[in-house]
Structure formats: structure tokens, C-alpha cells
């Protein structure tokens, strides 16, 4: 992951009001946190969709567990199972991608094609039939999950299979939940876009991606999620990642450029060869760039000892001044990474630019 990757992701998700993606092994705690994150961050105009959205996210997530054959690829670095929720205009999209063995492809395809062609009454009939039918397959439900997804979302289930190896295929599925009370001119998102994002996530070894409006209220559930999700890591690494996110997200919430009342930002957590890569991006006023660059170059130039001296100098002398902490966050972050704080500014308009940071722990 580098600064270019962050801009690439941000552009892919340009129209997303909120989006969250996760790759790796799937546990219920990830699910609980993902649903909480989306619920707490969705715009008020969509609040009536909350329960339905949670329900559909849970179904989609558990569907991955139900059909997944990813045991063949137990290493997290090679596991590309993927879950994503995004909101564009009036529609929420829930996307799942997981490896299934090739011999299951035909039957999954058949079930999905069937539910996608039925009208409301036929669907209800099928639902009742399946519920009373004794012939339930071993992995729980003769496609009851799919039927429920269509009934609850009142939409179709676009899907696709992409051959991953001689034995396995990647199974993509998208649930679409539209808010009937909100008008939107946004083009609907196709499943091909989800496939492109999943590829980008897997290629860049991303574990978690979140794009949204980072207000102080929105940050808290994000942080709790990251924190709970890191319990298995070494405490030191865990603290550093957490610290980086707190500082950067609060920074976005305070200083980023406001467009349509939103302070939009993105963060990504990647992991490769034992190293965590963190990246963030947000818009910034062009006027602020020079000063920020100077500060970044300054902390990047200093040795660990010089940074510690600077930090302690603040502890000694910064007590009376109310503006004294300018840059303290950056000094602190620079102290903790073994590498530099890598940054990039990409001009978007005469008014603002895209500002991204990446660090390694």
C-alpha cells in the first residue's frame, strides 16, 4: 500500500457516503462491529432502513460462513474472503465474496437464478414450502437465506463466479436495499465494481477499509471496532495502530476540507510479511498544505533522539501556552514508526487537494 493506492481507493468510492470493507477470517465479533459501525454512521434520512440493513448484513455475512470453502487457504495473507457494505445515493449495497469449491457452483447458481426470477407471491410460496419441507440440506436451509434476502430487500441478488484455481471459484453476491423515500440521481453500483474493489483489496493486502464522514461521533465506534479486532495482536503493535488512528481520525474531523457538510476521509489497514501498513486520506484546503509539509518534513528529518527531545521539551515548556501542541501529534507519531511518515498531496481543484499519509509498524 502506498499513497497512490489510497487515492485509487478513494476515487473508486467517490460517490460512497459510507463504505466499509473487510477481508480475512470471519467471526461474529467482526460482524457485530460492522453492523454497529454502519448503523451509527448512516445518514438520518436512512434511519428507517436500520433494522433491515442489520438483518441483511447478518444474512450476507453468515452466508459466507455457510458456503465458504476457504479452509483450503487458512493463511490470512492468502485468504481473500471479503465483505463490504456501501451506501451510494438512496441505495445500500451489501457485498460478499468467498471461495467455494467448483462442484457447488452449479447448485448455488441455480438457487440464485430461481429467486431472482420469482415475483412477490411466488417468493412467499417458495418460502413457506421451504419452511415446511423436511428436505433441508446439511449446511442449513435449502436456500432459505437467499429467499429471505430477496424478500427483505425487495430487490434482486446480482452474483458472479470467478475461477480462482482448478478446484475453487470466487463467489460474488450483492444485496441491494433501496430507500423508497429518498430520490437519487446516482447510477446504481454494479457487481463488477464490487469485484474491482475486492481485487484491489486483495492485491494490496488490505485487512480493513473504511470511508465515511469522520465526525467526532462517528470516530468512536470505528475505534472500538479496530480495538476489539486487534485483540490477538502484540500489545505494542496494537497500541501503535490505535494511536495512529485516533490522532489521524481526530485530525480529519477537525481540519479536513468540508464538502456538502461532510468531512470525508478514508483509512486502510494492511498487513504483509509481518508488517502493518496504515493509510489515511482526506481533502485539505490548498492554503494549509505548505505549513503541513514543513511540519511533516521536519519530523521526518529528525532522529528518534531528537524527536524525543522535542517531545520532552514540550512537556517541560508547553504547559502555559494554549497553542503549544501544534504538531505534538505528528512528533508523537514520528517517534513511534520505524520508518518515515510518507505523505502525498494531489491537487483536486484550485480550492482543495487530496492529502494522504502512510506509515508502517
Amino acid at each position: 500500500m502506498n499513497n497512490n493506492t489510497i487515492f485509487q481507493f478513494f476515487n473508486h468510492l467517490k460517490n460512497d457516503k459510507i463504505s466499509f470493507a473487510y477481508r480475512g477470517s470471519f467471526s461474529n465479533s467482526v460482524l457485530a462491529m460492522a453492523t454497529e459501525l454502519i448503523k451509527n454512521n448512516m445518514d438520518a434520512e436512512h434511519s428507517k432502513l436500520r433494522n433491515k440493513l442489520s438483518f441483511l448484513m447478518i444474512e450476507s455475512f453468515q452466508n459466507i460462513a455457510r458456503y465458504a470453502d476457504s479452509e483450503a487457504f487458512p493463511e490470512p495473507e492468502t485468504n481473500s474472503d471479503f465483505f463490504m457494505t456501501r451506501n451510494i445515493g438512496s441505495t445500500f449495497y451489501i457485498i460478499s465474496a468467498n471461495l467455494v469449491s467448483n462442484d457447488k457452483v452449479a447448485s448455488i447458481r441455480e438457487r440464485l437464478e430461481r429467486v431472482n426470477t420469482l415475483d412477490k407471491k411466488e417468493l412467499n410460496d417458495l418460502y413457506r414450502e421451504v419452511l415446511t419441507n423436511k428436505q433441508i440440506n446439511q449446511k442449513g436451509g435449502a436456500g432459505l437465506g437467499f429467499i429471505e434476502m430477496v424478500r427483505k430487500s425487495k430487490g434482486k441478488l446480482p452474483f458472479d463466479f470467478v475461477k480462482a484455481s482448478e478446484t475453487h471459484s470466487m463467489f460474488f453476491m450483492q444485496i441491494e436495499l433501496k430507500n423508497p423515500n429518498v430520490e437519487s440521481e446516482q447510477e446504481p453500483a454494479k457487481i463488477e465494481e464490487a469485484k474491482a474493489i475486492q481485487t484491489l483489496i486483495a492485491e494490496n493486502d488490505i485487512l480493513m477499509m473504511h470511508k465515511g464522514s469522520f465526525t467526532s461521533d462517528a470516530i468512536s465506534p470505528v475505534l472500538r471496532m479496530v480495538e476489539d479486532n486487534m485483540n490477538s495482536m502484540k500489545l505494542k503493535v496494537q497500541k501503535k495502530i490505535y494511536h495512529f488512528l485516533v490522532e489521524i481520525l481526530q485530525n480529519i474531523s477537525k481540519h479536513s476540507y468540508v464538502i456538502n457538510n461532510d468531512r470525508e476521509g478514508i483509512f486502510l489497514i494492511g498487513f504483509k510479511d509481518g508488517v502493518f501498513n496504515l493509510g489515511t486520506g482526506n481533502y485539505i484546503e490548498n492554503d494549509k498544505i505548505e505549513n503541513l509539509k514543513t511540519q511533516l518534513d521536519h519530523v521526518n528529518m529528525l532522529s528518534k533522539e531528537a524527536l524525543s527531545d522535542l517531545y520532552r521539551k514540550y512537556l517541560r515548556e508547553g504547559r502555559e501556552t494554549e497553542t503549544g501542541s501544534a504538531g505534538l501529534g505528528l512528533i508523537d507519531l514520528a517517534r513511534e514508526t520505524d520508518d518515515n511518515i510518507n505523505y502525498s498531496f494531489t491537487k483536486v481543484t484550485d480550492e482543495y487537494s487530496f492529502y494522504s499519509l502512510t506509515v508502517k509498524f
Partner: protein, 129 residues
């Protein structure tokens, strides 16, 4: 002045115990409010009042799990008030607690030890489970 200030720890603000009559002074948990003034100003105001008529001995426990850089300024402010009590000839000590494997919090304590005149005792603890 109320005789004590006791605040429960929350998701983004620490727990506070300022209870002079029982010799208990402690700040503990996580501190990452975006608006540090809102939380800390009343706390610091309370400690300043205590400083006007302090106990002979003040052992102040800092037991942070985590704090953001915005909170650093407020921790510095608290220590500044404690320094005032110390300079006036009272017995003041900072006890800086950190979880045994938490090097970050240990280093944070060492930073304060380096930068204040008050004696700082670094104390590690271990969770049972």
C-alpha cells in the same frame, strides 16, 4: 468545595478519583476526547482548589491505558498544579502505573519523570488472566 470528585471511566474519558479525606488521587483508563477542555477543565479546576489547602502528603496515581496527544497538554496541566503543591514544601509523589508488557505507557511515564521535579515512581502491574 465538595469534599470529593469521582467520575466513572467512559469510552473516551478516564475515571477520576480526587478524594482528599481518604488520601485517594487517581486518574485511570482511556483518554481520547476530541474536546479535551470540556472534560478536563472542571477536573483541573477541582485540583487547583485542592492545591489551595492540600494534604501533607499527596500521592497521585496515573494509571492510563491510553491517551491521545490532545490529552497530553491536560496531563501536563495537572502535573503543573501538583508541582505548585510540591514547591510549597508539601510531600508530593506521582505514581505512574503501566501494564507490564505495555512499553508505550512505560516510556510515557519516563518522559514525565524526565520533565518534572516531582518524584515519579514507575510501577508495573500484571493482569491476572
Amino acid at each position: 468545595m465538595d469534599d470529593k470528585l469521582i467520575l466513572r471511566p467512559k469510552n473516551d474519558t478516564p475515571g477520576i478519583v480526587i478524594d482528599p479525606s481518604n488520601d485517594r488521587f487517581e486518574i485511570y483508563g482511556k483518554s481520547l476526547p476530541e474536546d479535551t477542555n470540556e472534560f478536563y477543565d472542571p477536573v483541573i479546576g477541582y485540583i487547583k482548589k485542592y492545591a489551595e489547602n492540600p494534604n501533607e502528603i499527596t500521592e497521585f496515581i496515573f494509571n492510563f491505558e491510553y491517551y491521545n496527544s490532545a490529552s497530553v497538554r491536560k496531563i501536563v496541566n495537572i502535573i503543573t498544579v501538583l508541582e505548585k503543591i510540591y514547591r510549597e514544601g508539601n510531600n508530593v509523589k506521582i505514581i505512574w502505573m503501566y501494564e507490564e508488557t505495555d512499553e508505550v505507557m512505560k516510556e510515557n511515564g519516563e518522559d514525565f519523570e524526565e520533565t518534572t521535579d516531582i518524584p515519579v515512581e514507575l510501577k508495573s502491574f500484571e493482569y491476572e488472566d
